[in-house]
């Protein structure tokens, strides 16, 4: 890793995350009000969605966009199988919990993506704006695969009807807000965005700092209370993002994406959902244990991705594309 990796660790965004983790471990009472945290998460999604839409309105839609979309959706469908096998075999989880956890690893984490974009931009490798749409498209397929794995094909379990379930999944607030803001970005374009950019653009990194402070607090507190997560599961929570990240990045480079977009796709593959999917699992697989899937995705994979894996994936993408040679 080069100087830019170190630069990551002097970025306030990452440092506030570390501060949150340390404060929680020191048992400080520091806490962000829930309403504020929720508001910040909506803000981040609206802002990233709009920025992506504006970028696409500038660049237009080309073959790369479709490649990335197809790759992302396919990955989201397929990745849970690999995770499921690991979770049942090495992780010793039952079918139900293995399926629930697998869904998380096939889906994506918005905040991990947003943080990766910040880091990639600092490193001079900004991903394409269309990656936001790829992210939104990757949220859902993994949920379907995970449910199928958990319940077996055909059976319905104690949860809700499939129609209700699909509605939940396609109209859940993060998908609606991401895609809605993305569409707004496309329609209003750079000119329309200019009006609101002091809010959505200029404030973005600062809000991300405070939001990551909160996520650091929550992730660390959860692991301090955790009981359900064995060392085997902890190892999986590191191994899966590593492997998924390598596969995602390599496939993206092979299919011709630029270095930033390939890294972003790698990060999406590596990231695990801790917002949309847990909520969907409570509805569809209430018997699965949130103590397992939330702790793995939020308290282990999320910090691992933020602090280490994004840097690794970025370096990998650079190496594979040979992009590191040029000026940033």
């Amino acid at each position: 890793m080069d100087a830019s990796a170190l630069q990551t660790f002097t970025s306030p965004v990452i440092l506030f995350f570390v501060l949150g983790i340390l404060a929680a471990f020191a048992r400080s009472d520091l806490a962000i009000p829930e309403a504020i945290a929720k508001g910040m998460s909506l803000y981040l999604m609206a802002a990233i969605g709009m920025k992506g839409g504006v970028a696409v309105s500038e660049s237009g839609i080309d073959a790369n966009v479709l490649t990335a979309l197809g790759l992302g959706i396919a990955a989201s469908f397929v990745m849970p199988f690999f995770a499921y096998a690991l979770l049942k075999g090495f992780g010793k989880l039952d079918r139900l919990n293995a399926g629930a956890v697998a869904a998380h690893y096939g889906s994506v984490s918005v905040v991990t993506f947003v943080t990766a974009v910040e880091i990639l931009e600092i490193q001079g490798k900004p991903p394409g704006g269309y990656m936001v749409a790829v992210m939104a498209a990757m949220e859902t397929p993994a949920i379907l695969t995970g449910l199928m794995l958990a319940r077996g094909l055909g059976s319905k379990g104690g949860g809700q009807s499939t129609g209700e379930m699909l509605h939940e999944v396609f109209f859940n607030s993060s998908v609606v807000l991401l895609l809605g803001a993305f569409a707004i970005g496309i329609v209003s374009g750079a000119q329309g965005f200019a009006e609101v950019s002091p809010f959505f653009q200029a404030g973005f990194k600062g809000v991300l700092c405070i939001f990551l402070l909160d996520m650091g607090l929550i992730a660390a507190r959860r692991i301090m209370d955790a009981r359900a997560v064995t060392w085997r599961l902890a190892a999986i929570a590191i191994a899966v993002p590593l492997v998924n990240g390598v596969i995602g990045t390599s496939a993206a480079v092979a299919l011709g994406l630029d270095v930033g977009s390939a890294a972003a796709l790698g990060v999406l593959c590596a990231s695990a959902s801790y917002i949309a999917v847990p909520a969907a699992m409570r509805l569809a697989l209430p018997e699965a244990d949130p103590g397992i899937y939330l702790t793995m995705s939020l308290s282990i994979t999320f910090p691992f991705n933020i602090l280490i894996n994004i840097g690794l994936i970025s370096a990998l993408a650079t190496a594979l594309t040979g992009a590191g040679a040029g000026p940033p």
Binding site: A31, E34, A37, K38, I275, P278, A279, R282, L283, P290
Partner: protein, 102 residues
């Protein structure tokens, strides 16, 4: 002196994502209404939780006032959810004014 009648007060602790299932059950029991109040944190067999609004796994209380028979019908109706989703249901007798509303 003002007149009061006895009704059941039922309080159900539920995931906020599942409120609609509970209120649908209340409507099915033909109870006149319900009220939702927020919850901050808690601990149960599945460990502690708090500040989970961002994750969408937070909880709320749904409370409803109903005559005995409708209350029992409601309890009967949502008993399966209690088991699968780990809801908490408590109920007790209260005096209400203007009992004809409930």
């Amino acid at each position: 002196m003002i007149e009061t009648v006895i009704r059941k007060r039922i309080e159900i602790l539920t995931d906020s994502a599942l409120v609609k299932r509970v209120t649908d059950a209340i409507d099915r029991a033909e109870i006149t209404g319900w009220t939702v109040t927020p919850v901050s944190s808690g601990k149960g067999r599945e460990g502690k939780w708090r500040e989970e609004r961002v994750m969408g796994t937070d909880k709320v209380f749904v409370l409803t006032i109903a005559p005995q028979d409708k209350a029992m019908a409601l309890a009967e109706d949502i008993a399966p959810l209690l088991t699968t989703h780990g809801f908490l249901l408590t109920m007790w007798d209260v005096e209400v004014i203007r009992g004809e509303r409930f």
